[in-house]
Symmetry: C2
Subunit: 390 residues, 2 copies
Amino acid sequence: MGYAPRGLAEKRYLMTPGPTPVPPQVLAAMALPIVHHRSPDFKPTYKRCLERLKEVYRTDGDVLLYTASGTAGLESVVANLTSPGDRVVVVSAGYFGERWAQIAETYGCDLDHIRYEWGEAPSADDLAARLAELGGASAVLVTQSETSTGVVADVRALAAAAKDAGSLVGVDAISSLGAIPCETDEWGLDSVVSGSQKALMSPPGLATVSVSAAAWEHGAKATAPRFYLDWERTRNAQEQLDAAFTPAVSIVIGLNIALKLILERGLDATFEEHVRLGRACREGVKAMGLELFSPDDDSSAVVTTVRVPDPVDGTQLLLDLRDRFGITLAPGQGPLKGKVFRIGHIGFFDVFDITTALAGIELSLAEAGADIERGVAVTRALETYEHQPA
Amino acid sequence: MGYAPRGLAEKRYLMTPGPTPVPPQVLAAMALPIVHHRSPDFKPTYKRCLERLKEVYRTDGDVLLYTASGTAGLESVVANLTSPGDRVVVVSAGYFGERWAQIAETYGCDLDHIRYEWGEAPSADDLAARLAELGGASAVLVTQSETSTGVVADVRALAAAAKDAGSLVGVDAISSLGAIPCETDEWGLDSVVSGSQKALMSPPGLATVSVSAAAWEHGAKATAPRFYLDWERTRNAQEQLDAAFTPAVSIVIGLNIALKLILERGLDATFEEHVRLGRACREGVKAMGLELFSPDDDSSAVVTTVRVPDPVDGTQLLLDLRDRFGITLAPGQGPLKGKVFRIGHIGFFDVFDITTALAGIELSLAEAGADIERGVAVTRALETYEHQPA
């Protein structure tokens, strides 16, 4: 079916921070015959899926569902909340933070960009100071998990600073929603964007966008043109259990099952599991003598970013892992290209995925001439996973 | 899995003009484990899919692939080809033609709307006259198959009139591409939009958009804001066999298989099959004494629209067919609500789907007190399909 090119290993280990592996129950549902989106074969599933999304978002407000990549969800925030000339502050520290800025510029916002080095963690104090200097801003756009570096920002603190200055808060939680706590209502987040293909362990194709009461109020005045991504059009349809446009029914059916699995385990238990997987990964990586690029603390629960050791070529390392072992890791992006590699550990992922990654990395690095400790990483990772680290 | 609500018939007959039934090979591929879109597990499939799309479009130009509903494809035409204030002529004769007009208005175009009654066929002479009156227009937007009425417009003639006046031509071919001839290059169509879930017999979730050389040239000057739907961003990625944003990999893999099936049978043979299915449907409908709303000629190869006979309630008829027999037809929309029903016959559809629809309709109508001829529709449909009509 055009799926397995010749010459590659048969089994696949997808360990990128998106797309992520999808549980077999979800995959099986993808193969069900197509049903009409306005039929009783679909509507109860759609209803449950929308309800479950609210639970995962921890919001009583609206969560809108779009057939699109996550980036379209980000664009919907700018298109529905801003008018040309509005002052918008973007806080960025990597590839995806930059995307917020690009979108805001595309829409003619008066962009104020607080730009950190890749790998730095944004500071709420910096944001508060800048907002005070500016005399406020219409909206502040932040990234919870900067997938390009592995750094998780303190969105609660950033949001509080924005709120204090009277700004609306848009959050890119594409790789973080369902992996780590994102308290939409409690933290006062006005619009949180996520995607089906990350911690929500579904195939790519759906973007989700929460909208607070304040965002609705502000959005009614926004003049940027938008049709497909217009929030109101989608809300009006969803209130009738309809979709404004034919949705990707297969993926909605899959997502509904994945959300059920997540909520059955419990959101807090799921967050704890991601913390433990992050710990196991970091301890294993360090045990073989590698240096972490992402922070060595429990905030690193989404993706672990590791420096490529001398004399290894980072690009070649990932090709070797992929072509010999079927292990797909994520490369460094932008200024980190070739300098780091990234191990995603969100969604349908367990500790033996971590040990598989570590075992493969260990072998490839050793063969490439890196001076690393052999035979300890897997054991250390498992021990860390089972017991709290010292 | 939340798929089959209790109390409905077990087997399903999806006979709407979208979503349409999907071949089992395509469904099976949807259940394959998720692969990374930048990996060799995906790229050869992606490449073939893009090549096959060009064959189906009959173009040597670009065909862009978006993870989105078809409407986003329509919006991309307006967003990439127009600037606020540009004169745009929309030719509409139903629900989907109206959508072109709504999008053009949303983007601040100087809209000139040639609006026909629902069920009428647009005339190229009317368009030519209006363009002459206006002294031209930046773009003309037309609908090939108006799914809400079953009327297929003569896009070749409309495009010729637009070209004569120096306008770019955007075509909504969402329900027609792959069902009936749409000669993108030969007819000089600047942008043709389609979707995965119609005649391309794949799950909903992908929109396709062709872009001519003239459209690229004009688009470079367009000032409407767009990020996700920006044509150039997607073309630049596709030229590297990349996607600008994580695509719905499962649906791309499915679409690639569906396109292979279509091209193996041959595009012309596929068009001929749709003509024969349309004939069979019309002759069967007429044989039981019903009146057609869509034209009684071979242009009606996408959807057959039938008037609901007295004393039957059109809404109740469709509920009866759905809940008792699992047959899903499409209702009338807008001014046709309750007055007509629509039988889609595109994509993975054969003559026994037609006879199933006819048999179900015959029984439901008779029980609802309609004065119809019994026992002739199925035979007439099959005979018509096998032999040319008299």
